[in-house]
């Protein structure tokens, strides 16, 4: 019997009535992972997950829909006692000695960590192919990428192994793989969720977020992740809210903007047509949709390159072979230890980005490039701010194409940046953005739409996403329907 295919309320009822136990869900999840065989995981938490499930049998099932449910965690979020690699050789034996704040919250809510998901090395990439452990595959077509950098979290949700996963999003790393695999992925407002224990890539952009098969479950998971944390002073204190509260409401009167750049020639025809169909649905249901200009969107990739690589070069300086992680044998001197440890430990993409970042921040360059980027970033945020004075939400495609082949060349160092051209701006402005599956292309690969909200207005994003999800009624389980047509 497959319990994880049921509605979350039904699973909860079965647990409450003691017709099933958390261990049944854990065993089912491990079986699913084996069957779907997408290389979604770097480390499975088999023994501990079973222990936790057994422990949960001893306590009363709470009125918490997440109780006893398995969850997959991206492998750049530290888990006490459970190997955390960032998909890198430099951390391939790293056992954290504390839990990230989000992990504490997950444990407090009695969810069960099933394993650590595959990703691009240090979240640097857009196809998860920079992983030291090999790329995860797309459940819709195993010849295709699942996107990145949260590719493993995306593929395990898409394959219906588990209901919940965490990803992280620095320049699109939740939304883009969600789009390629046909799932719902939310990058919340910067500061919503504590980054304590998220291994830093670009600190002013990084944000953890939920990845799920549907909108409602995404909002449920976000409910428990948010909040001010003394251990991350960029986290923000907000009044408690239920992110599911507008789900089920109609969209009459919603004002929606579509940035012209998002519908320009950089986007494939299939995807643009699908978004146009959605715009029609929105108008038919009482929303107004305007095409608008937002300046600087076309500069987002350049900003991302400068800010993300600059911050990465500084953040990754901590991997020095001294305090944790990989370290060479018999170093001649301290420089030899640094240089050879980092050369052996980091992969090609990571080295490239650290080198460019170091260059961009060195001497006068910091002023020429980094400060200039921060200034344009501020301008871009002002542009979004203006747009949100007039519009409730912005929409557009999440990606310019659907998932491409795993075997496609990786020689072009700019390719991974261009894959994220439509998702980068949201990180720059610190806004919340969600990917919603809206259909399929000719090869039956998923197409995603991005819904962008004003800061701290995730609930409104979920309102629109849930409305469309219900209208579209897509078959989003790759194990069913017209798989691999």
């Amino acid at each position: 019997m497959k319990y994880l295919d049921k509605k979350i309320e039904e699973i909860h009822k079965l647990l409450k009535e003691k017709k099933i136990k958390p261990i049944d869900l854990v065993e089912e999840a491990f079986q699913n992972i084996e069957n779907s065989d997408c290389n979604s995981y770097i480390t499975l938490n088999k023994e501990e997950a079973r222990n936790v499930a057994k422990e949960l049998e001893k306590i009363e099932v709470e009125d918490n829909l997440l109780f006893g449910l398995p969850i997959a965690i991206k492998d750049n979020i530290v888990t006490k006692g459970l190997r955390t690699t960032c998909a890198s050789h430099i951390l391939d034996n790293f056992i954290p000695i504390y839990d990230a704040t989000v992990i504490e919250k997950i444990k407090k809510n009695h969810m069960i960590i099933i394993g650590k998901t595959n990703m691009d090395e240090f979240a640097m990439g857009s196809s998860s192919r920079t992983s030291y452990f090999g790329a995860p595959t797309n459940p819709w077509n195993k010849e295709k990428i699942s996107g990145g950098s949260s590719g493993g979290s995306a593929s395990t949700i898409s394959a219906r192994d588990v209901l919940f996963a965490l990803g992280s999003d620095t320049g699109g790393s939740i939304r883009q793989p969600a789009s390629y695999t046909g799932i719902v992925g939310m990058k919340p407002t910067y500061g919503r969720i504590s980054r304590y224990g998220l291994i830093a890539f670009a600190s002013s952009l990084d944000q953890i977020g939920p990845m799920t098969k549907n909108v409602y479950e995404n909002a449920l998971l976000l409910n428990i992740l948010v909040g001010k944390d003394e251990k991350d002073l960029t986290s923000v204190n907000r009044e408690e809210e239920d992110f599911t509260r507008f789900i089920g409401k109609n969209i009459k009167g919603l004002k929606i903007g579509v940035p012209n750049y998002f519908m320009s020639d950089i986007v494939s025809k299939d995807i643009k047509n699908k978004v146009k169909e959605i715009i029609k649905v929105l108008e038919e249901n009482g929303a107004t949709v305007d095409f608008i200009d937002i300046k600087y969107l076309e500069n987002a990739v350049t900003l991302y390159q400068i800010i993300a690589m600059g911050e990465a070069s500084s953040n990754l300086a901590r991997f020095d072979g001294i305090r944790y992680g990989h370290s060479i044998k018999d170093p001649k001197d301290i420089d030899d230890l640094y240089f050879r440890t980092r050369s052996e430990g980091f992969g090609e993409e990571v080295k490239r980005r650290i080198m460019v970042g170091s260059y961009l921040l060195s001497g006068e360059n910091a002023k020429i490039y980094y400060n200039k980027a921060l200034s344009i970033r501020d301008d871009m945020r002002k542009e979004f701010k203006n747009a949100f004075q007039k519009y409730d939400l912005l929409i557009g495609p999440t990606t310019t194409t659907t998932a491409y082949n795993l075997s496609d060349s990786m020689d072009d160092p700019l390719k991974s940046f261009l894959d994220d051209v439509l998702v980068n701006p949201v990180n720059m402005a610190g806004l919340p953005g969600l990917n919603l599956p809206i259909g399929f292309d000719k090869e039956h690969m998923p197409i995603g739409m991005q819904i962008i909200g004003n800061s701290f207005e995730e609930a409104k994003i979920y309102q629109l996403a849930a409305f469309l999800e219900k209208k579209l009624k897509l078959e989003l389980d790759p194990n069913r329907g017209e798989k691999n047509v």
Binding site: I97, Y190, G191, S204, E230, L233, T234, V236, N237, Y296, N299, T302, L303, Q305, I306, S313, A317, G321, I322, R323, Y324, H326, S327, P331, K332, D333, I334, D336, L337, Y338, F339, R342, S343, F346, K351, R352, I354, M355, V356, G357, Y359, L360, S362, I368, Y369, K372, A373, L374, S375, I376, R377, D378, D379, R381, K382, D412, P413, L414, F417, S455
Partner: protein, 102 residues
């Protein structure tokens, strides 16, 4: 415009990043780093509104905390994560020339 960096330029950035490179890697990065740096150069053609810069997205919401001792990591566990340690110390190779080896 030249289409690749010189070897010296690649060694310079590798040195900044504390990364040693093989000859093969140097050849590859001569081209790839140049491609990225050319792309980054686009920033200088962008005309902004003003000189304001964005450091934190929500400065109004950020806060300071009191400088008080809170929960701390267990030193023994911290040491066990270090590849080379001895007693209560993390061991590193000699840093200042002229002394005895570590």
């Amino acid at each position: 415009m030249k289409d690749k960096l010189s070897k010296e330029e690649v060694y310079h950035v590798a040195n900044l990043a504390r990364i040693s490179l093989t000859d093969e890697e140097v050849k590859k990065y001569q081209i790839q780093l140049k491609q990225i740096l050319d792309d980054v150069e686009k920033i200088n053609n962008v005309k902004g509104y003003d000189d304001d810069i964005l450091i934190a997205c929500w400065e109004e919401n950020t806060s300071l905390r009191k400088d008080e001792i809170g929960e701390m990591l267990n030193p023994k566990e911290v040491l066990e994560n270090a590849p080379h340690h001895s007693g209560n110390y993390i061991a590193v190779p000699i840093v200042i020339n002229g002394g005895e080896g570590a």
